[in-house]
């Protein structure tokens, strides 16, 4: 489980996060949602240590990440897998080598063992015959799937996905969501997904944290978000005419 307590973050004079506290449960897909520019990605980057917080605590299974030295942070990071918005695959390595990279850095596996593990992870994301493709030869969806394969290569305890569906068509988005959900349940890991895709909220949102103006504005799950009477959450969920129509027809409007 990951717990954040009273997180504040500023860039120069502009405060982005205000006193955020939340719990991200193990074995569940935890979503951080909100409009663009509200601080979702900043919160996630603070959680994995890419940004230093101005105050507060980030607890990984009770261990305070913010007060650790570089060495101990590295040890925690070895247990984190992360899928980036643009996949962030290494250009000079093919799909298999990308997945093998963390294994070669942190394990004493032989090349054959690493290849077997890479094959398994690529198979898990339905890319078992694309091992030798370079990132530039892959579509956006394939890059995301390779990113997921790399993120799970080390059997992480925590999985972060930063806007996994951005730039993808609806069918590929649903596949990526299903993959994230399956991996979370199968491996019993703590998954945190940053998204503003409503489909993802409804498909995989076991826990949902709504960030508004850098604050923890609302918390619930995929069922309660549809019935929430919070004005900003409602505006977010029922932003499109289509959703407004559904809201009206289903009698969800309070």
């Amino acid at each position: 489980m990951i717990e954040v307590k009273n997180i504040n973050k500023s860039f120069k004079d502009q405060q982005v996060l205000f006193d955020i506290s939340a719990k991200f449960e193990k074995g569940k897909v935890n979503l951080i949602i909100g409009q663009s520019g509200q601080g979702k990605s900043v919160l996630a980057k603070c959680m994995v240590g890419l940004h230093e917080t101005d105050g507060g605590e980030i607890l990984y299974d009770g261990n305070d990440f913010t007060s650790m030295d570089r060495e101990h942070k590295s040890a925690i990071r070895e247990e984190i897998g992360m899928l980036f918005q643009g996949a962030a695959l290494f250009d000079s390595l093919n799909a298999e080598e990308n997945v093998m990279f963390p294994l070669s850095m942190f394990t004493n596996m032989t090349k054959k063992e690493m290849q077997m593990r890479a094959d398994f992870c690529l198979e898990r994301v339905n890319l078992h015959e694309k091992n030798k493709l370079y990132p530039s030869e892959c579509s956006g969806g394939m890059q995301k799937r390779i990113g997921i394969a790399r993120a799970i290569a080390m059997n992480p305890k925590y999985l972060f996905c930063d806007e996994p569906n951005s730039g993808l068509d609806p069918i590929t988005s649903i596949r990526i969501d299903a993959l994230i959900k399956d991996i979370t349940y199968d491996l019993n890991i703590t998954t945190v997904v940053i998204t503003h895709d409503l489909n993802s909220v409804i498909e995989i949102g076991d826990n949902v944290l709504f960030i508004y103006k850098g604050q923890n504005w609302w918390q619930g799950n995929r069922d309660s978000i549809l019935l929430s009477d919070n004005k900003e959450v409602n505006q977010f969920v029922y932003a499109s005419e289509f959703m407004k129509e559904i809201q009206k027809n289903m009698g969800l409007k309070k």
Binding site: L50, R77, E78, M82, F84, A88, F90, D91, M105, M154
Partner: protein
């Protein structure tokens, strides 16, 4: 104040770079790869620049030998000393700053803006050590090799230009090259080269690693990397000459 902060950040970066690599096998593989990229791929440009540079020095010296009191071997001597002392180590390093510096800054800068460096950090990899240490060591090892090659090619260039122009005999040119030869000058040149290699790679890496923004900013940082490493080469050249030769 901003410049001071930048210098401080540069030295903090160096401290993180010079730590023990996580896996020596990966480090050696990266090192050989960098020797290929930084060193071996630079041989053609070094050969081309050096041979023409030596040819022009020999031609200009020979065409200005109007004073009968000057011995004919002066052409060879001037080509040899100017090549060893200044042209090969400094001018070739400035050229390599353009070629290698922009390459490094844009490579690392692109990795930064496409979140590849963030991906390394999240995996728990010391990205500065992993990406930059092999480049620095490759430059320190291979720059002297390139400069020795440059010195040799420059003298060959002078020899060929004199055959073509027939301004001085090649025998007196070779006599000039051998006259007053001081091996200490070669050591001085190679010492400078090691420092220049270190500066080019570390300064360019600094600009690439800390770039913020997108593709346009990578281009700007690449330009800044070349300009700054060229200026630091000139400053270091002055300081090293004061320290070693005077």
């Amino acid at each position: 104040m901003k410049s001071l902060a930048k210098i401080g950040k540069y030295f903090i970066m160096l401290r993180i770079i010079f730590t023990k690599p996580k896996k020596w096998g990966i480090f050696w593989r990266s090192l050989f790869n960098e020797i290929q990229i930084i060193g071996i791929s630079s041989i053609p440009i070094v050969v081309l620049m050096s041979s023409f540079m030596g040819g022009v020095i020999a031609l200009q010296t020979a065409s200005n030998m109007g004073n009968p009191l000057l011995p004919a071997y002066t052409v060879g001597y001037i080509t040899q000393s100017s090549t060893i002392l200044e042209f090969s180590p400094t001018i070739i390093s400035l050229i390599l700053a353009g070629k290698i510096g922009s390459n490094i800054a844009s490579e690392i800068g692109t990795m930064r803006v496409t979140e590849q460096i963030d991906a390394l950090e999240i995996m728990g990899v010391n990205s500065l050590n992993y990406l930059i240490l092999p480049k620095i060591i490759a430059a320190i090892i291979f720059f002297p090799v390139l400069i020795i090659f440059s010195m040799f090619m420059s003298l060959i260039g002078g020899y060929i230009s004199l055959i073509i122009s027939d301004l001085t005999s090649t025998e007196t040119y070779i006599l000039g090259i051998r006259s007053f030869f001081d091996v200490g000058h070669v050591y001085y040149a190679l010492t400078k080269t090691v420092v220049f290699g270190f500066l080019i790679v570390s300064v360019s890496s600094f600009y690439g690693y800390y770039v913020k923004g997108g593709a346009l900013d990578v281009g700007h940082s690449s330009t800044k990397a070349v300009v700054t490493s060229s200026v630091t080469i000139l400053i270091a050249n002055f300081i090293l000459t004061q320290m070693i030769l005077l």
